[in-house]
Structures are given as C-alpha cells and as structure tokens.
Amino acid sequence: MTLDTAAPAFSVSAMSSGPGSHVWSCTHCGLPVPGRRDHEQGAGDIDFCCEGCRAVHAIITGCSLERYYAIKKDSASFAPASAASPGGARYGYLDDPTVREKYACGPGGRSMDFFIEGVHCVACLWLLERLGTLVPGVESARMDLGTRVLRVTLAANGSFAAAAEGVDRLGYKPHPVFEDRQTARLQKGEDRRDLLRIGVAAFCTMNIMILFVSIYGGAQGGTEKAFLWLSGLLYLPVAAFCAWPFYRSAWSSLRARQLHIDLPVAAAMIIGSTASYVRLFRGSDDVYFDSIASFIFLLISVRFMVRAVHHKAASRGGVGEFLIPASALAESPADGSVRAVPADRLAAGDMVRIPHGETIPVDGEVVGASGFADVHMLSGESEPVPVSDGSAVYAGTVNAGPELRVRVSVSGARTRIGRLLRGIASAPKAPVVLASDSAAKIYIGAVMAASAGLFFWGGGLGLQESFDRALAMIIIACPCALALVTPLAYRLAAAEYGSQGVLVKSPETLEKLAKAEHLFLDKTGTLTHGKFEVIEWDIVEGGLDLAEVALVLEEGSVHPAAFALRDHARSLITARCGACQPDLPQVVDRRETLGTGVSGTIGGDLYEIRSAAGPDRNEVPGPWVRTEIGIFKDLTLMVRVRLGDRLRADSASAVSRLKKQFRSVELITGDIEPSAAAAAERTGIPHYRAAMSPEAKRDLIASTPLSVIVGDGANDAAAMSKAWVSVAVQGSIEVSLQCADVYLAVPGVAPVAELTAIARRTAAAVRWALGISFFYNVVGMWLALSGKVDPLVAAVAMPVSSATVLAVCYGMIRRPGAVRGGGRARWK
C-alpha cells in the first residue's frame, strides 16, 4: 500500500487496446505521466507527472543547472527514481545555537552532515554538490554515496537551515545526522588504524624482502650479518604494531577456551618471531623475518577486505526501509511548528503529524480529530478502520483519512512491526554456516596438534628441519573458507535480497530455494494488482474525457467502482493541468441508485454513470474485465469505462525469468476459468488450474515435491504449510510470517525470481569456496609435511588462497555495476 499509492495522484494509465495511446515520461523524474493520448512525446516536449517535479525543474533551470538532466541520461541509476516532493517541513531549528554547538563539526564548526533521501543516480551527486549555486552562504557540499551523507560547509554568514531548505527544494529530503558522534569516531579511528597497519606492514615487509633477496643471492660474512640485523630491526614494528589484532583475538579465544582462526596465526607469529630473534643473537642465519612479515602483511590486507565487505553488507538498508518511513513530521511542543526528523529519533510523548496517504511512522495514539487507518499491511483487514481520539495506531499502516495527529508511544525497533522484524533478524544461522564453523574449529585443532606432534616427535629429522616443517604447517593451513567466507556469503546474500524488499525468515530457506524445482503462482494480488481499477477510459469520437463530471458525480459513493473512477479521474485531471485546482462543475439533483449507477444534472445536461453492457458493443472486452460502465450525456454514450483487476506490468517478464529457473511453473487460482486462462496466456505461464479451493491447492502442493508457492499469506495458508518453500506477497505481515518462509514487502512476482537467482548464486559460491579451500588445504598440508615448501612460500600462499576464496564468493553473489550504498533507499 505504501508503495503504489503514496505519490500524489500517480497511476500508470492502462494500456488501451486501441491505437494512439502512448505513455509520456515526466521530464524531471522519468516516471510515466498518465493520461496523455494523441501523439508520441517529442524530444522537446516538457511534461511532469506531478507538481513537485514541475517545481524542482523550475528551480534547476533557474540556477542554470540543466546539466543535471544530461548527466542523468548518461548514467545508470542505483535506486528507483521517484517523483520529487519538495516542501513540507521547516528547518529553522538548525540555526539554533545549542543545536549548532552540539552537532556542527569540522573546522570552525561550520560543517554539518545530512543524510539525504532520494539520491538515486550519479546526477544527483552532481546536483547536490552544486548546492552552493542555489544557496548563497554554502561554501561547499560534499557527498558520500556509500552512506548517502552530504557534508555541508558554510561560509562565514551561512545558515544550515537555508542549506537544508535548499536541498529540500531540489527535491531531496535531508535529515541532519545526529548520531552518537562518539561511536562513529571510534569506528572511524579503528578503520584508519587498520589502514595504517597495512601501510607499516607493507613498508617493513618490502624492505626486509630487499635485504633478504641479497642474502638468498649469496651475500656472505659481514654483509649478510648486517642485513640480518637490519631486517630484525625492520621487523619490530610488524611484530609490535601490525600483528596486534591477532594477539588480541587469540588471547580472548584462549580465555574463552574456544578455538579461533586467529589462534594458529598468532602462534606462528610468536613462535616464529621468538625463534628468529634467538637465532639472530646466536649468529645463525636461519631466520624467518621475511616469511612472517609477508604473512602478516598479506593477512591483514585480506582481513581488511573481508571486514569492508561485511560493513557494506550490514549498512545496506534491510526490509524495514520498505515498511516504515525514514522520516516523520514532528510537532514542536512550544509553537506547534512542524519539522522533519528521523522516525526512529522520536521519543514517547512527541507529537507527529501524518498527512493523508502517508505511512504512519510510529506506534502511538491519535489525538484530536478522527480519521481512518488502512491496517491491511499489519492485520490483513481490507477496509480502512475508523480511528478517533485515543485510538491506537501502528507503524507501517497508512493514514487513509484526513491528516492525523498522533502522540508517540514507541518508535523504531520497539514498534510492533519493528519487533517483528527484529525477531526475524536474530534468526538462527544457516545450517551450512553452523556446520562450517564447527568444521573450522576441528580443523584448527587438528592442524595445531599435528604440528606440535611433528615438532616434538621429529621422526628422524633434525630439530631445525622439523621446526621448519611444523611452522610451515601452521602457516599454510587456511580454514578461511570455513570460518570467514561462508558466513560472509550469507551476509552478502541477505544484503542483496534485503535491499530488494524481500524478508526471509530463516537463512535455511535460501538453501532450500536453491534446490526447489516446481513453482506455483497465485493470480489475484500476485500477478495482478489485486484491486479494482480502471483498465480503459475509452472516449467516443470527438468528445471530452469528462473526468470532472465523473469526479463530481461519484463524490461520496462507496461503491467499489466509484473509488476506481474517482482515482482515475483525478489522475486524468492532474495530467491535464498539473496540481491546479480543477474547476469542478456544480451538480444539481445528484442521485445514486444502489447497484445501478449515479446521475445528476450539470449545466442543463443530464449525466449518468451506469452499466454500458448492451447490444451496441462491437468488441469483446478482455476476460479480466469485470464491469463495463458508461458515462452518458443526455442518454448518449460519451465515455466507455472498463474496470477490473489489471495484470501487473512486470508479471510477464518476471514469469519468463522464472520459467528458466524452475522445472515447472503453474498458475493456480480460485478465480474462474476465463480469467485464469487469460492471465496465463498474457504472462506466458504454460499450465493453469482455475476454480481451485484452498483444500485443492493444499493437496496439489502436498503431492508435489520441492515446490514453491507464491501467494497471499492469509488465503493460501493451508497450501503454504505444505510447500517446500512458501512466499507471501504483501498483505498482512504478521499473518504471512506465521505461515510463509518469505515475505515480499514490494508488490509483484519479480522479487521471487531475484531471490531464487540469489539463492542459487550463493549456494554455488559456497560450493566453490569450500571446494577450492579443500583442494588447497590438502595439497598445502601434504607439501608442508613432506618439507617441500618452506615457511616463506607458505606465508604467501595462505593469504593468497584466502583472497581467492573471498574473491570467488564476492564475485559470484554480488551483481556487477551500480553503487551499493548504505542507508535507506525507500521506494516511493
């Protein structure tokens, strides 16, 4: 609900079967502009889908920033475009001295960070960094696409409020970043220190290697001695500074009596370093400075990469972004002025205002005037529920009535839906991950035991040789695929499908989906929009579209057709004249006859809206058309309107993708035969079954192994309980998550294809990673045991194998191209 209907008066005009109806694109945001007929959109034609886009376009051209559109045309976007919605909140409080003192940063306290909603392509980056053109007083604006944070630096007399308002006028929503600076600074400090460690390790390792090359090349006597001592000196920073994280985690793993992958690394470090220094002082030349320095350098580089991938995956918005809005309009208790704040910053007792059609951001109670709430998403009720002073409302539901004032009870993760999502997030790990965790621990234990055994037993080799081999063994053993990469694979996958609006109850579902073979799709609400709307608005030759007439005559009617007619009429009017107030004609003698239609007199003519079925039809409407209605003027048909439940525009392409992924795809529905046949034919589904009762569906699914069902969480609960994997498309999230394994927060079937693709890629990536790692470890162990590889080679081989496995996993799961930013990407 929040997704299709939140934007102002926007709905895609239906594809008419007749000629001459094309879809224009909004000049600013590129989304379709409804209602245009006649001719193709020319290159110079300017049109807008809504008043917001029109306003932003004017501002952009006013500042000579039209290059925005040229850049936009050339660049790929990494989030869906949305219609601009400037205005709304005020930012005056940003210039309050206490606020500035607390949250301004940078030199002289002249900078402030804003999280920007609505950034979806590189052109947005270009535009926002030119904020100084629009707002005098802004010295610079620098955007970080990864976190979607814009750092605005003011000139001497600048104002943060003006800057925020400027961003708002450009069509984006700025949220000042009021996060705990302390933790952010600590995190950044930690990251920077890791980078420094890599730099120091590189410096020392490379210089040590240069010295050792000459030793290997045959340097003798004094030269050799001098070089060895110099390497020992250069090695100190590596041992003391660079290897520190390994000592730390090895120590804590020892204290917890758990085996950890850093244990062999730390052991190799300490044993190798000690032995090397001892031998150096004794005058021997068998030292390991080169091996261990390279080992540490390469290893910390690889670990850094792994952590960076983890961070990126974790910071990507999860499904919550699709269900709860990121910002809310908070009322100031002092003067009642309204400002935009991040929704999860609201505290109990704050007052928020929720305009009509917006999603409610918090759990709370209504204060003052009453209205309606659409709770379909939470509890499944299809009719809006009346709310009045004192009624409870919940985050995620939609305000279906006039503007509401709500007092906050809880916000963010503590709301009803927040707790639900959090319960999902703490689901147990995938079986594969748990298994590899234990396997890694067993392997580490075995390697360390074998290595110690080799050293102490010796087996006829000298002390030197057995020490070398034992050290090589510890170094070369790489359980990285088991301990690091497998969990990372699932993390990456979760970030991928989470950012598409897919909620998966437990990661085990991903493994199951990778093996699934048979797909069953429901029709209503899954392949179709699930609501009654206008499919065609057929104007008889030479007439007007009579949108205002329809709007005025259907005013106040609660017939389902009336809602559909009013919506479509509004979008036609917006397409014609933007958001100007339409000139609604006066109706005299308006009359509604239940079940038949409405009528009224306008300007002396009798207008009626009633059924148009009759012998004067000359074409058979599509089988998914439920009703034909006509608008009659003085008993003459002026407009023929066809209503029904339309197929989603993306269903056909999603189905063709799904057909390649599954062995069989079938449409099963409780609807009548002609509708099912038509839907199957239009989407390309080879088999369909119509008029199926819930029991029949359940039996069919139960008798098919490895089946996936996609349908409505409430209605198909029986079938879902028998399926191998079940997917619920929108609807009540609480009910759906009780019966289904997967919940789609976005409409349509396309996310299922995407999720299946991700599941298969992840399963394949994990298989490859484990395979490569197994092969490498077996060969490496054998080589180390038989003395064919010395510690230096081992030291290089191990991080390289780690990096290979990581690269394979990452490359196989992530889709190429586009910026995967952190922060909230909300579909509008």
């Binding site: 850049i71 980056l125 970080d144 950044k188 920077r192 980078l195 730099g199 120091v200």
Partner: protein, 61 residues
Amino acid sequence: MEVIWMLLPIAILVAAGFLAAYFWAVKSGQFDDTVTPAHRILIEDEPEAPSKTNQERKDGR
C-alpha cells in the same frame, strides 16, 4: 661496495618518507570514502561557461 652502507639508509629514509605521506593521507581522512570518487570522476568536466550565477564560486567548481 662500501657505498651500500650509505645507500641503504638513504633508501630506507626515502621509503619512510613515503610511509609518512601515507600516514598523513589516512589521518586526514582521504581514505574514508572510497566509493564516491569513483563516480565523481566519471562526470565529464563542463566546457568553459561564459558566466556563473554565483560570483563568489571558485574556478572550476
């Protein structure tokens, strides 16, 4: 070959100088955002604009 006793320390000093530069770059936050510069460079430079609306803007920005 004794020259090497002079060359080695010099070489290490030069390398240390580079390391110092790296330290400076990390500490001044140049590596904090590695995502955006990749996109920023893909935006072509504007051709010479005859006039700019904001007179105080620096050249080239």
